[in-house]
Symmetry: C2
Subunit: 397 residues, 2 copies
């Protein structure tokens, strides 16, 4: 593991100090540190925060670095899903190459942890997973990648998918995924019983895409919470999007959030600009573990997005109507330290004893850094420099 002396940085925006890293962990934080023989990096008075955490994305989907894809469709969710499943091969979307491009761009912009969903379906089997597994291996030590085996095309409606999810978990996926058990799969009890059983079998966490609106989404959330409690899976279940938490009446939202917090279910939000999204402040105030994510980046679904958690933080912040410095600081925490906790990575902090996964930011204060469109001066993973001036130290394919 790596030793490094990081000089002249402002930990969490506090006064200028140095950070000594020993064996990939933060050994000391203080002024005027000295460590003979240890490599020195001058932070030039940049801010330093725990590395950014991408809590919800799809490394297997992006067209980043490919020619412009002009075939995007309108329509309902099912149309977008079908379009992608049918276009992957003709488009030449090589998942290993594309997930490398995506993940390396995230390293360049200061991300140290990714949770990615990977499509598992009866057309592609485990081939997409294999591409992302190769990427995880290739980037080991530079970025941590958690993989969700994600039944994008449906579970109950596509026989054979459950067996593939089982195989995906055996092949190296970390987390059992789910998708709109009611609206998409038409059988909420069926899907949820199946994925909770699979999670129990593999002793794995769960992460469910839940776009379902209003009371339908609230009903499905209740089914998830019931199973979390009954199976003792507190702290191991996550729900992505949860638009219903911005659509049902305020008292119902409050009661749901209270129960979500009590059962320690994480919520992942992308601040989806054209959807209703749950209030970040309300979730944090309720004690819910929350992470944020970019979701798909320039994929067959949509043209938007940048592989940059600061870009996404701004979208989430604008969506939440944040204005004040304390709100921007809450946002930055959700994109880094608190975001890590939401995906089960504890102790992600600029603190002695923590892993030296650190991102330097330009800016006068943490709040200023949130809105400033500047490259990250330096990114450190396990004590090693993995990016400088907005670019990862390795080239993307």
């Amino acid at each position: 593991m790596t030793d490094l002396l990081l000089k002249n940085i402002r930990p969490m925006g506090r006064e200028t100090a140095d950070i000594l890293i020993r064996d990939g962990k933060i050994a000391e934080i203080g002024a005027g540190l000295d460590a003979p023989g240890v490599v020195v990096e001058d932070g030039q008075n940049a801010l330093v925060i725990p590395g950014l955490v991408e809590a919800h994305t799809h490394l297997d989907k992006t067209t980043w670095g490919m020619p412009w894809y002009a075939g995007r469709k309108g329509g309902v969710l099912q149309d977008l899903i079908d379009n992608e499943r049918n276009e992957r091969v003709p488009l030449g979307l090589d998942v290993h190459r594309q997930s490398m491009r995506h993940a390396i761009a995230l390293i360049g912009t200061g991300t140290t942890h990714i949770r990615t969903h990977v499509d598992i379906d009866t057309d592609h089997g485990l081939s997409l997973l294999e591409g992302v597994l190769k990427t995880r291996e290739a980037l080991a030590g530079m970025i941590d990648i958690q993989i969700v085996a994600f039944p994008q095309s449906g579970l109950m409606v596509r026989p054979g998918t459950l067996e593939l999810l089982d195989a995906a978990m055996a092949a190296g996926a970390d987390i059992v995924g789910g998708l709109d058990p009611s609206s998409m799969d038409r059988d909420p009890k069926g899907q949820l019983d199946a994925i909770f059983a699979l999670a129990q079998k593999h002793d794995a966490p769960i992460d469910i895409h839940l776009h379902e609106p209003g009371e339908l989404g609230a009903f499905t959330m209740e089914l998830i919470l019931e199973r979390t409690q009954a199976l003792g899976m507190q702290g191991r279940v996550g729900v992505s999007h949860a638009f219903h938490l911005a659509m049902v009446p305020p008292a119902r939202i409050e009661a749901l959030m209270e129960r979500i917090a009590a059962l320690d279910v994480s919520i992942y939000s992308t601040g989806h600009p054209s959807a209703n999204v749950p209030s970040l402040k309300a979730m944090r105030a309720a004690g819910i573990r929350v992470g944020i994510g970019c979701d798909g980046i320039r994929d067959t679904w949509g043209p938007w997005g940048e592989p940059d958690m600061m870009h996404r933080a701004r979208i989430v912040g604008m969506k939440n109507g944040f204005r004040r410095d304390e709100e921007l600081e809450l946002l930055l925490d959700t994109a880094s330290g608190a975001g890590a906790a939401s995906i089960g990575v504890a102790g992600h902090a600029v603190a002695v004893g923590s892993a030296a996964d650190l991102t330097l930011l330009a800016g006068e204060t943490l709040a200023h850094a949130v809105v400033l469109q500047e490259p990250r001066p330096l990114v450190i993973k396990g004590g090693a420099v993995v990016a400088r001036a907005g670019h990862a130290v390795i080239e993307a394919p």
Copy 2:
């Protein structure tokens, strides 16, 4: 006026051609043009569109280029208005300097026309207007600036403001502004009668901020439409924000949009991420003239925004759930040619006879250019190069 031969560009994404500019106007578009003695610019195969149009901003408010402002407040609209009015002087917000920074940054990002609101209130009199008038004069020929005399702190609730608006129009403002005649001013009939009379007196157009929600906003909109019709002000009235057009029932929205189109009232949208915003596609389909704007940039109200209409177009596009190429092209048109029409600038096009106000964009296609975060290669105003590689040819103060 200026002559220029712009070689190797793709007009509106079509095949590569040249554009010959004579006396500030587009004289010829074609392949292999030659014009002895005329200065040549090589467009290096960039796309070219009519210059971007900022249809709703506040040049008198930005802290751009100043130290980070940490004093932003929460609360209701009135709190934000009061905070700004009280903080302008202690903050040292020099309106001429700040509006120069803001407008020059807009030139650098490819904007050729701005409509700006400028606060007129009984605390500051016309002093903020004077700062923006100086900027307009200093940048004459580089960017066109329309000025709305804007009663930000209220009209009926602050006696003396109407007289100041009158004086502002005499001093050089072009457009009579208004603000939430019901919710803010508590007297919709009073405010609207006053500003329509003032517009008649100065033979000037009107532009009204209308944030009012739901049926209240629809009611105020009806009052505006009634006066537009009664006074024969078709084509000279604009309404900014119009959130109610995304809040009342669909049939009511449709009927309102039909009447707005029939009376040729323009709508300006900022794609406000945390508000309900009217559908850009529905407005355009109804035949309404629509422009988009960045609104305030990093001002005392909020930390967000960039002085860049392509950045704003992406926000508006994401908010509208646009995915397909034709939607991105509609968006780009609303930010340029159609946006110009919405502020009364006709014939803003890449066409023979049009003013040579042109913005070059990187990208494979127009749709690609919308999502690509790249500097504008070249910006031309009246045939003169005013920006290169993302930077205006003059320095900001």
